[in-house]
């Protein structure tokens, strides 16, 4: 059985080599690959802006770029990272690739809509990059009125349109996943046999579908305000600028759950696989994803505690915001319990999972500080908030994404990457991340506001620490590009199941066939069973 592993003759990457076969594909796996390439480009553009920001902030004076340019840096960094990297990332790459095989289907329910969603993403991205190149936008990714409607001289409208368009990409992906998970499961694949990755994406898709249209209409209103001089948010005509904030955050708060829920799903898969043990409390973890999605919709005004909302509103939203923390805590405890009496190994994906658990815990816990009204008055709009959300978005979501990429890379490409450098890079990312962002909690409580181009001298040391960490973090992100690309040619052939993982996707060849399965399997077992899976190989179905 253990004869030398070979890349199979027929697989999805060999099904046509022309540009046309890629651009007009209906194969969810090829679409996932194209998303992978696109969001990687976006990540590096967003990362360049981050480099610009941290470089400027190494000195207290605004001496690297002008104030306007700096304002554009942080705006574009936020817009690209949120809308063009984080929101698609795991769902569009890993979700697209893996959900059909995980549930035993040949493709998503709507393959052409999947392709359309990719095209729409490209068009939105092109609008946004065009706006960047021709001058950029400086309103902050939050676009608050009246500055965005009347105050700013920058290219608000093209960027707003770019985001509007990209939003439809997100909606269509979510719609596709919902219908797929409802209607395309293989015989025997009941809801409670689904991998937790699928549960997480189902919850994410609900948020995408219900929340994204609201940012879309908010952008429409901003557009008519700015382009036609309508007065929906104009105080001189009786409009309320704070109404914009309500509408904006009604989407943008659930949006952060779009960004983290898939990573929570990935982590469940990694923790289970690398402990060779079923997830402790499966149904609790599954339902906690749904709970996060639902509660995420009722807490938006915690972004507005100092925006002039009434004391009573503030108390209601503070109370509700604590509710969202509980299901997240439940997940962390269940993962910890999964490790107990497991058979734990520390391959690269598990290093990312560990990093995720630690950093997500800190990020989530610091959310409690912000939900606490008496404290939020002081730390709102300071670097404390910046540190909080980077712990979750970067320490959490991006590590989840990288962990997932490292885990499923052999399935996607058929090859393994360099083991040593992948571990080095995981550690660099973890260390670099903490050095970058932990000092920001301190400087935030000290009072340093967000979006500041220059700052008082006494805050320099903490800022220099942060900028230094960013260098390590950046290097940690560059390494995977190199060893992943090298692996395509020189990586060891992985075989169907190099990790000994459970899950239908590991029962197929690597890389998979275009149609995923020779025959659709019938599922009779429970998820996360490891006893019968031999270490390195499994039978092809």
């Amino acid at each position: 059985m253990l004869d030398k592993l070979r890349i199979p003759e027929r697989h999805y990457l060999h099904e046509g080599h022309s540009l046309r076969s890629w651009l007009l594909t209906k194969d969810h796996k090829r679409i996932a690959i194209m998303y992978l390439m696109s969001i990687s480009v976006m990540f590096f553009i967003g990362g360049l802006f981050a480099v610009g920001i941290r470089f400027e902030l190494a000195t207290p004076q605004g001496d690297f770029v002008t104030a306007d340019t700096y304002n554009k840096f942080f705006t574009m960094h936020g817009i690209i990272m949120v809308f063009f990297f984080l929101i698609p990332s795991i769902p569009a790459v890993l979700g697209n690739f893996l959900i059909p095989p995980m549930i035993g289907a040949r493709d998503l329910a709507f393959p052409r809509i999947n392709l359309l969603s990719l095209y729409i993403y490209w068009i939105g991205g092109i609008f946004t990059i065009y706006a960047m190149i021709t001058g950029g936008v400086d309103t902050g990714w939050t676009f608050y009125t009246p500055y965005s409607a009347a105050g700013s001289n920058s290219h608000v409208i093209p960027v707003a349109l770019g985001i509007f368009i990209a939003g439809f990409s997100s909606i269509l992906t979510g719609l596709n996943f919902i219908v797929t998970i409802h209607r395309m499961r293989a015989p025997g694949m009941t809801w409670f046999r689904l991998p937790l990755f699928v549960w997480a994406h189902y919850a994410t898709s609900l948020v995408q579908v219900l929340g994204t249209p609201v940012i879309a209409i908010t952008i429409v209103m901003l557009f008519v305000e700015r382009a036609f001089g309508f007065g929906i948010f104009d105080p001189a005509r009786g409009g309320d600028p704070v109404l914009f904030q309500h509408l904006f955050w009604f989407y943008s708060h659930p949006a952060v759950y779009i960004m983290i829920l898939p990573a929570l799903g990935v982590t469940s898969e990694l923790v289970s696989t690398f402990s060779k043990k079923t997830i402790f409390g499966y149904s609790f973890v599954a339902f906690s994803s749904l709970a996060i999605a639902i509660f995420g919709f009722i807490v938006w005004a915690h972004h507005m505690f100092v925006a002039g909302i009434s004391t009573y509103s503030a108390m209601v939203f503070s109370f509700l915001s604590f509710s969202v923390a509980i299901p997240s805590a439940v997940k962390v405890f269940n993962w910890t319990a999964t490790l107990y009496k497991g058979a734990v190994s520390f391959e690269t994906p598990m290093l990312y999972a560990y990093g995720f658990i630690g950093l997500f815990a800190i990020g989530g816990l610091t959310g409690l500080f912000l939900a606490t009204l008496g404290l939020d008055i002081h730390v709102h709009d300071t670097y404390f908030v910046v540190a909080h959300f980077h712990y979750i978005m970067v320490g959490g979501a991006i590590m989840g994404y990288l962990g997932g990429l490292h885990f499923w890379w052999p399935k996607i490409t058929g090859r393994m990457y360099n083991n040593f450098f992948s571990k080095v890079s995981a550690i660099m990312v973890f260390v670099g991340f903490n050095i970058t962002f932990f000092p920001q909690f301190v400087v935030g409580y000290l009072g340093m506001p967000r979006r500041y181009h220059s700052y008082p001298d006494e805050m320099q040391v903490l800022n220099v620490m942060s900028s230094a960490g960013a260098t390590v973090l950046g290097l940690g992100y560059v390494l995977p590009v190199i060893y992943f690309l090298l692996s395509l040619r020189r990586g060891r052939v992985a075989g169907p199941n190099p990790w000994g993982a459970s899950g239908l996707e590991w029962q197929t060849q690597s890389p998979p066939l275009t149609e995923n399965f020779v025959e659709i399997p019938i599922v009779t077992g429970e998820p996360y069973e490891y006893d019968h899976v031999p270490a390195k190989e499994s039978h092809l179905v």
């Binding site: 004391t311 000290l446 967000r450």
Partner: protein
Amino acid sequence: MTIFGIPIFPDQASTFAKDVDTLYFFILTVCSFFALTVAILVVYFGLRYRRKREGQTGARIEGSLPLELMWSVIPTVIAMVMFGWGASVFYHLRRPPDDAMHIYAVGKQWMWKFQHLEGQREINELHIPAGRPIKVTVSSEDVLHSLYFPSFRTKIDAIPGRYTELWFEASKPGTYHIFCAEYCGTNHAGMIGSVTVLEPQAYQAWLQGGGEGGTMAERGARLFEQHACNSCHLDSGQGRGPSLKNIVGTTVELTDGNTAVVDDAYLRESILTSQAKIVKGFQPLMPTFQGLISEENLLALIEHVKSMSPQASTASGQPAGATPSPNAPKPPARPGEKKQ
């Protein structure tokens, strides 16, 4: 507080800064406990239950309802404690004492303009006495800003078309930062200043230096003449407009049958959109001054009118009874105020 000369914690320069910091340390302790516990367990389990041989699998443990309940209920209880404590500190931070000294702040791109009742006007600087509660009424002339005093641990957004407020009582003389904490365009990072807390006598001395133009009320009196308000609002009540003597704090009947309490908000509305609420028995003749008077001058005029009602000089903006017009600045939200 500094470590090797590097500041890592802000000064506690207000009476409630300590309350905020105590809350902070409580949450920090609880969260550190949980974070460390998880970190230690996760590392410990990972090492203790390390995979030892090829093909080894973990024990078959599906879950435990008691554990799930425990680690759902306990965090919920802790979260409720955090919420309750935070809400109570917040309540305190948002309720100015009745005897608070009043200061006005107007944010505009990219500076903070402060006005003392006695007439002093400051830009990006604020001198205040220690040991007295101070209420700052905040507004904006253009886009959103946010007035932030880190050493006092409080901030509030400045919204165009509205009044918001914060309060504090400075406890420690010294000079502290003022920041704008809501992104407002090019020079957002430059919209900073300093608040100087003086001992009461030193503050009095500073006040004697005087602001040009006299007190706010005196400036308002000059504006009253300039804009010809005195041509209609005769003290005798026989003019085309009602007399403004002793009017503040009273309830007037309007032409549409409703009543209104004469407070800051009513006065502001009457100047800006004079036909909003017309006192019964008078004609809608008053011109509107929307766009003709700056925020600071508006405040000065209001102070002048208030000075004509010496017994009600502490009345502030709480509309009651009359239909609220959202064009008037919303008086700072204060819970539980159905009285007055």
